[in-house]
Each structure stands twice: as C-alpha cells, then as structure tokens.
C-alpha cells in the first residue's frame, strides 16, 4: 500500500509529491500503527491563511486535504515521516 503526500500552495505555488510503499519498509508495522491513529472524523477546514501550504494525503481508498495549519498530531507525524523516508531514498 502506498501513502502519497502532495503539497501545493505556499508563496511559490510549487507542487511537490512524496510517496512511500509501506509494504517495502522494514518498519512496516509502525507505519500501519500510525495509519490507525489518524482521525477518521470529518473536520471543518480552518479559514485559509494566504500563502500557507495545502496538503493532500492519500492511502488505501482515503483522500484527505488539509491546510498546513491543520497538519498537526498524527497527520504531521505521517507527513514528516513520508517526506523523510522519500528524501532518504532519493539521497
């Protein structure tokens, strides 16, 4: 299963994507555990703050779009982990 993080917006308006194939990770169990901690309830989006990022997170059949200021807690953990894993892979 893949987790795909897409970041758009920001002052520069650049589009970046990071993805991790969980089944290929040595610590796939802790990835699964993190996914179970993601909130399932629908959250009203916060009022946009101009030039902040917008994050789209996709995995399994779920797709969540969050303004940067709401990427907190387990969402933040997931996004940071996906980025770090991909950046390490690219390095």
């Amino acid at each position: 299963m893949k987790v795909i993080v897409t970041r758009t917006g920001g002052m520069a308006g650049l589009r970046r994507t990071w993805e991790v194939t969980i089944d290929e990770q040595p610590d796939r169990d802790s990835w699964q555990e993190l996914l179970t901690r993601l909130p399932r309830e629908h959250r009203l989006p916060a009022p946009p703050q101009p030039d902040r990022y917008v994050y789209e997170i996709r995995w399994s059949r779920r797709r969540v779009v969050l303004p940067e200021q709401q990427v907190t807690g387990p969402w933040r953990e997931l996004v940071d982990r996906v980025r770090e894993t991909e950046d390490r892979r690219q390095a």
């Binding site: 520069a12 308006g13 589009r15 703050q49 101009p50 030039d51 902040r52």
Partner: protein, 357 residues
C-alpha cells in the same frame, strides 16, 4: 443619504494636479474619489454599501501615522509570535533577517501611505508585526491574519524569504485585501487575492528602486532562488510562465490568458497559478500608460480594491469591471486610462462589463 460637498468633476481636476506644491491636495482628492465612487452612481456587482463610518466626501484624510513595527524571532520553531527582537525605533539588529523584515515593513507602509494616503494596512494605523526564522528549512512566507511569517529557506533552492521586498509587500498586501475587499482565498476570487498581492508587491519594490514601467523587472521573488536554480524568480507579471524552468522545480506553470485557465483542486483552486492572468492584465495596463506604474495603473487597481465595489466572491470579470469603473471615476470615460484598462483585460481574455450608470 450621502451629502457630497465637492462634486466629482472638481475632485477629478484636483486629482490630476501636477504642481508638486499642490501634491497633498491632489492626493486628498484622489483619496476622496476612491471612497466616494460607490456613492456617485457607479455601482458594480451586488456589494452592500459600506457603513456610515466608511463614508468620506470631504477633502480631509485620516491621520497618517508613522509605522509601529515589531519583529519577533521564532527560533526555528513553529511557535508564534516568537520572541520580540526589534521594536519600532530600535537600531539595526545583528540578524539580517530581522533587519530585512523591519525595513521591508517600513517600505511597504511608506508605499501605501504616500502613494494612496492609506494609514497602514487597515487604513486605521494598524501596528505591523512580522516573525522571522519560522520552522526548520521552511521554504515559505505567509500572512496569518495578524502578522507576516518568514522561513529561512532550505539553502539549496531557496534563500531566506525576507530577502525579497516584493515578497514582503506581497504578504502585507494580503492584509490590505483582508481589510478591504476581503477576497475569498479560493478559485477566481483567490487568484485575484493572490494577484493583488503580486501587483502591490511589485509596485512597492519598483517604487523603492525608482523604476519606471520599462525599467522594472516585473518579477515576484527576485533574489529568493539560490544560484543552483535555473530561474530568475517565482513569478513574472510581464511573462507569466517564463519565470523559471528548472530540473527540480519544473517549469513556471502560470497561464497568461483565460484560454489557459487551470481548473484544479490543488492550491485552493490554483490561486497561485491563475493569478498569472490578472497579473498580466495589470502589466498590460501599466505598460500602455508608461511612467511609474503605481501612479495610474496602481491607483486604479487600489481604488477598485478598496472602494466597496467588490464582493468577497468576485470573479475576474467582476474585478475587470470594477477597474474600468475606477478608471472612469478617476480619469473620465474617454480617458487613455480607461482605454488602457479595457485593452489590458481584453488582452488576457477577460470580458469587461459596462459599469452600471
């Protein structure tokens, strides 16, 4: 009922006075015209009339106070506001980011004060706040509704975000928009919100450099990219789509014409993409009129933004019509300025309506 003492034709004559000794009179007349346009029978869209406290039909302007700046340091955390490190009147800090933010706030404040007789970003002498060193390798700057926040960049693609006056002006202009038309940050209204910030960001930088339309770079974020990047800046008002073309960043994706409008769910409906279209319209108007772009093209745009003729969900066509109405109010129906505005929008494929009589 609005009782206007000074009739519009007289204000228009005063607004175009060129004698430097009479500059305050011209500025006051322009300020009065900007505020009065909705009440002189030129209504655009369905905006509710501004409240009584917004009405001004005399030649007096609000007290224009000096800036009151506070710069804070987030210490590479994401905690806001951070620790205050420089207050208004303090001498320069040893930290260049702090000084760039302080100076950039000052330049932007000065721009709105001297060019448009606007008292800080809310036109009520709002103190100006900025936070630097936000986050870790944070390649971004933003307006959070109360302050500007700047990252340090990652040093690979981006230098620190305070290094560009057009970026500082862009962020503060989001505050001006918030306190005037309050354009919703989504889809076409959001692209207009972004464009207004690019336009005034560029004009702040042009005025600080003394650049005419021909001399100006018309770039947003010149100086932010490191030498590694194949590109000049984040965006170009003169040539949307040509600001950069880099292996890592890709190619500047901005359209310059409505035929290339990007329908997307990214970026709140592509607000940083489709801003290229109204950006280019502004450039075309400025280029047609020549001289220093903030004086006429900038005044027309500022008038449309602040005179109550826009709703928060205005689309490109509504904004175009508002700028045409502003040009008529300021310079007359058969003026070169009005023609230039119509030609500018036609040039990017946006229809310009006839303002309601």
């Amino acid at each position: 009922m609005n009782c206007s003492i000074v009739p519009p034709y007289l204000l228009q004559r005063l607004a175009s006075l060129e004698d430097p000794a009479l500059a305050p009179v011209a500025a006051a007349a322009r300020a009065s015209l900007q505020r009065d346009v909705p009440f002189r029978g030129i209504r655009v869209g369905e905006a509710a009339p501004p409240t009584t406290s917004d009405r001004r039909s005399t030649l007096t302007t609000r007290a224009l106070r000096d800036p009151d700046r506070t710069i804070a340091d987030a210490g590479n955390t994401e905690a806001l506001p951070g620790t205050i490190v420089r207050r208004e009147g303090d001498s320069a800090a040893s930290d260049p980011a702090v000084n760039e933010a302080y100076d950039g706030l000052g330049e932007t404040h000065s721009f709105f004060r001297h060019v448009f007789a606007r008292a800080s970003i809310d036109d009520n002498n709002l103190p100006l706040a900025a936070t630097v060193h936000f986050g870790d390798d944070y390649d971004n700057a933003f307006w959070d509704g109360e302050r500007m926040v700047f990252g340090d960049g990652d040093g690979i693609v981006f230098r620190r975000m305070t290094a560009s006056l057009s970026v500082i002006g862009h962020e503060l202009a989001h505050g001006v928009t918030q306190h005037s038309a309050n354009l919703l940050y989504k889809d076409q209204a959001g692209a207009l919100n972004e464009s207004v910030s690019d336009v005034f960001g560029a004009l702040v930088e042009q005025r600080s450099l003394g650049h005419s339309t021909d001399e100006a770079s018309w770039l947003i974020g010149l100086g932010l990219f490191t030498d590694e990047v194949e590109g000049e800046a984040l965006r170009s008002l003169k040539a949307p789509g040509e600001a950069y073309n880099d292996d890592v960043l890709g190619k500047d994706p901005q359209p310059a014409h409505m035929r290339d409008y990007v329908q997307t769910s990214d970026d709140n409906g592509g607000v940083h993409l489709n801003s290229g279209i109204p950006n280019h319209a502004f450039y075309l108007v400025a280029q047609e009129l020549g001289g220093q772009a903030w004086e006429r093209a900038g005044l027309i745009w500022y008038t449309a933004l602040t005179n109550g003729s826009l709703t928060p969900t205005a689309d490109f066509a509504a904004f175009a019509t508002a700028t045409a109405a502003a040009a008529i109010a300021l310079y007359g129906d058969d003026s070169v300025e009005h023609s230039a505005v119509r030609a500018g929008w036609t040039g990017v494929g946006v229809p310009v309506g006839r303002p309601a009589e």
